[in-house]
């Protein structure tokens, strides 16, 4: 029995044998399948992102433009006192303007035509006059926003062939609008009001100014509270606290805190800040406090990770020449950890910027038509404003919801870009 049985291993491998080739083919197949799965996953993620952006942009792009109509406005000194142009009788000015613009229309036609103008038209005229009082006594051609139904008509969102009874604009309205278009009075300029106006009942007037300022105040408060507190807590836990059972428990709890659903923090804020301390409802200050409850654990965790990443050799070097613990931490470790800390902080704040649920609970979804002038005034925030608009039935708000989401995403991308910039700017230098 000198022949080798199949069971005993041989040293003379035939690398070209059927068996080896099969084995190789199987391994290669495994690799291809794995790579295929990876590519499919990434492709799917990109597809989802593309769909999201496409729906937002296609739906929201229209809101970045607003239909305007040019009207002839006679501004008489009787209606607008040149000494105090802000307090003029602009309601009557507008009626005169309609008459001047449409000299042939009878009173009932005029009333119908007035519906083309936005309710805010008189404020647009007022602002023009306040800016330039020399207009008083003249007849000026001014572009004012149209009301939402005509804005939608101009943007092609109204099906003219549909049943007249189901439309907000009947055939005479549409004919009148066509007439204005033919006269070249209709324009579609960029809608700066989306950023410079506060919220409004009328979609053509509604803007994000209040929400942006509200969010900015809330983030500022959130930063001022969670940044120093978070860094302080992290430095103490990482550098000074004795490592024992108690510090283990604290560590586990901070990690858990970062995973608590945000709506819970909202309920907590409702009970504590509003209930016990009687803080004002809907105020960005309270919103900032609430958000800082969520940002704090994020900053603590990021700071501890950044402190841990500073190589022990730097600490030894400083200790070795006789630096005290405090000098080691504040003179050497903290500066080296700063980029990581800042990155973590910005990411925490970006999370806070998009947070909705806790702000709803403390009433930051109130209907407020003026931008807040302090963190204690009632205001909305960007995500809650989106929430409000998404709930509004007017066609104009549908587009504005998408536009507001795009603005919010813009801010988020900006914050993440800052984080990336900081990280690369302060590359590790050891």
């Amino acid at each position: 029995m000198t022949e080798q049985t199949t069971g005993s291993p041989t040293r003379n491998h035939d690398w070209n044998s059927e068996q080896f080739r099969k084995n190789l083919a199987r391994r290669r197949r495994g690799e291809i399948v794995l790579r295929g799965f990876g590519l499919a996953a990434i492709g799917l993620a990109f597809l989802m992102l593309a769909i999201l952006l496409w729906t937002l942009i296609s739906g929201g792009a229209q809101a970045f433009r607003q239909t305007h109509v040019a009207i002839e406005v006679p501004i008489s000194a009787e209606l607008v006192d040149p000494a105090n142009p802000a307090d003029g009788n602009y309601r009557t000015v507008m009626r005169d303007a309609m008459q001047t613009t449409f000299p042939d229309a009878d009173p009932s036609e005029l009333r119908a035509l007035a519906g083309i103008l936005s309710n805010a038209a008189q404020f647009v005229v007022r602002d023009r006059v306040v800016d330039d009082p020399s207009l008083i006594g003249q007849t000026v051609r001014i572009n004012v926003p149209t009301s939402d139904p005509y804005d939608q008509l101009n943007k092609g969102n109204v099906d003219i062939d549909s049943d007249e009874a189901l439309r907000r604009l009947d055939d005479t309205d549409i004919a009148a609008f066509k007439q204005l278009q033919d006269e070249g009075r209709i324009t579609l300029p960029i809608n700066w009001a989306l950023l410079t106006n506060a919220d409004s009942r009328f979609p053509e007037l509604a803007g994000l100014k209040g929400a942006i300022i509200g969010s900015a105040y809330a983030l500022l408060v959130c930063f001022l509270i969670s940044f120093p507190l978070g860094i302080g807590a992290a430095i103490y836990l990482e550098e000074f606290a004795p490592k024992n059972k108690l510090s283990d428990v604290i560590e586990v709890n901070i990690n858990n805190l970062a995973a608590v659903p945000s709506v819970v923090f909202g309920l907590l804020a409702l009970a504590v800040f509003l209930g016990w301390f009687g803080m004002p409802r809907s105020a960005p200050f309270v919103g900032g406090l609430t958000l800082s409850l969520m940002t704090l654990p994020t900053i603590i965790i990021a700071t501890r990770a950044a402190l841990k990443a500073v190589p022990p050799s730097i600490r030894e070097a400083a200790l070795g020449v006789g630096a005290s613990k405090q000098q080691v931490v504040f003179g050497h470790v903290l500066p080296l950890a700063m980029p990581g800390i800042l990155t973590g902080t910005i990411i925490g704040l970006a999370q806070a910027l998009g947070e909705t649920a806790p702000l709803l609970l403390i009433g930051m979804n109130a209907f407020v038509t003026a931008a807040p002038s302090s963190p204690f005034d009632a205001a909305t925030a960007l995500p809650t404003q989106i929430f409000i608009w998404a709930d509004s039935p007017e066609r104009g708000f549908v587009a504005r919801t998408s536009a507001a989401i795009l603005v919010l995403l813009g801010f988020l991308v900006m914050m993440n870009a800052i984080a990336i910039y900081l990280r690369s700017r302060f590359e590790r230098r050891w």
Binding site: P242, K243, P311, S313, I314, R315, E316, A317, A318, L319, G320, V321, G322, A323, S324, K325, Q327, H332, L336, R429, W430
Partner: protein, 265 residues
């Protein structure tokens, strides 16, 4: 002239700088240093040799109380610097470390300028009254560390931009800038190439005129080249301590002999 130096050296060599008695170190349950008695002389290079993990670094770090920063470390026994118990409550380890400088295995300059690296110690200990004095200390330390000529034109450049050997000499300059009485070096050449190692060894020999130097090394050739006294550690105990020549030529203990001949470690 030569003779005078020798006489001075001879006087210096008799002075005991560090005297350790019954030193024990535990890391938690690990008994890392067992009952070590040793007298380290002034103006002498003392080499600590032994297989890795035998406690050389641990004992070295007892001399400037660097082990204080390790929570699990516990030290017993007595270590005296010039007759003064360094573990006495009246001694502040922060000040002790200015008097007993340390150089580490891996060059670890601060990520700051060369000037700031050297001036850091004198600044935090308030050793200079003004900028001119600080400049003087920086220059003198860099000269003593044989680095001045290479960096004098770029003192404001980051210390981390130097070569490995230059970085280690910068660390030596940083350590001697506080005018310490002793210099502890933990395998200072293990991350350096042979040329840089030669420069640092030359420097150590030169530093001996002013300091008591203790150097941990895993290279027996290096111990033989730079040191006058050698201590052999094994499993946490000090097995043998004596003149370097005698340790290498006629070791008393069989463990020393087998380590030197390459049978353990």
């Amino acid at each position: 002239m030569y003779d005078m130096n020798r006489v001075e050296n001879a006087v210096g060599q008799d002075e005991i700088k560090i005297s350790a008695r019954n030193v024990q170190v535990w890391y938690g349950e690990t008994h890392a240093i067992k009952d070590v008695d040793v007298d380290i002389l002034d103006k002498t290079v003392t080499a600590f040799i032994g297989p890795s993990g035998c406690g050389k670094s641990t004992f070295l770090r007892c001399i400037n109380r660097m082990n204080d920063s390790i929570p699990s470390a516990r030290i017993e026994g007595e270590i005296r610097l010039d007759g003064e118990d360094i573990y006495d409550r009246s001694i502040d380890p922060v000040q002790l470390r200015a008097r007993v400088g340390m150089v580490f295995q891996k060059p670890n300059p601060f990520p700051k300028s060369i000037y700031d690296n050297v001036s850091y110690g004198p600044r935090i200990h308030g050793l200079a009254r003004n900028r001119a004095e600080l400049d003087e200390i920086v220059e003198r330390s860099l000269r003593d560390a044989a680095l001045w000529n290479e960096v004098k034109d770029r003192l404001q450049e980051p210390g981390t931009g130097l070569s490995g050997g230059q970085q280690q000499r910068l660390c030596i300059a940083r350590a001697i800038a506080t005018s310490p009485e002793m210099l502890l070096m933990d395998e200072p050449c293990s991350a350096l190439d042979p040329i840089a190692t030669g420069q640092v060894e030359e420097l150590i020999d030169h530093l001996r005129q002013d300091f008591s130097v203790v150097i941990v090394t895993h290279s027996m050739q290096q111990a033989a080249r730079v040191s006058q006294k050698t201590a052999f550690f094994h499993l946490g105990s000090l097995v043998e301590y004596g003149e370097t020549d005698e340790i290498f030529t006629k070791p008393q203990d069989p463990r020393t002999e087998s380590y030197i001949s390459g049978r353990i470690g």
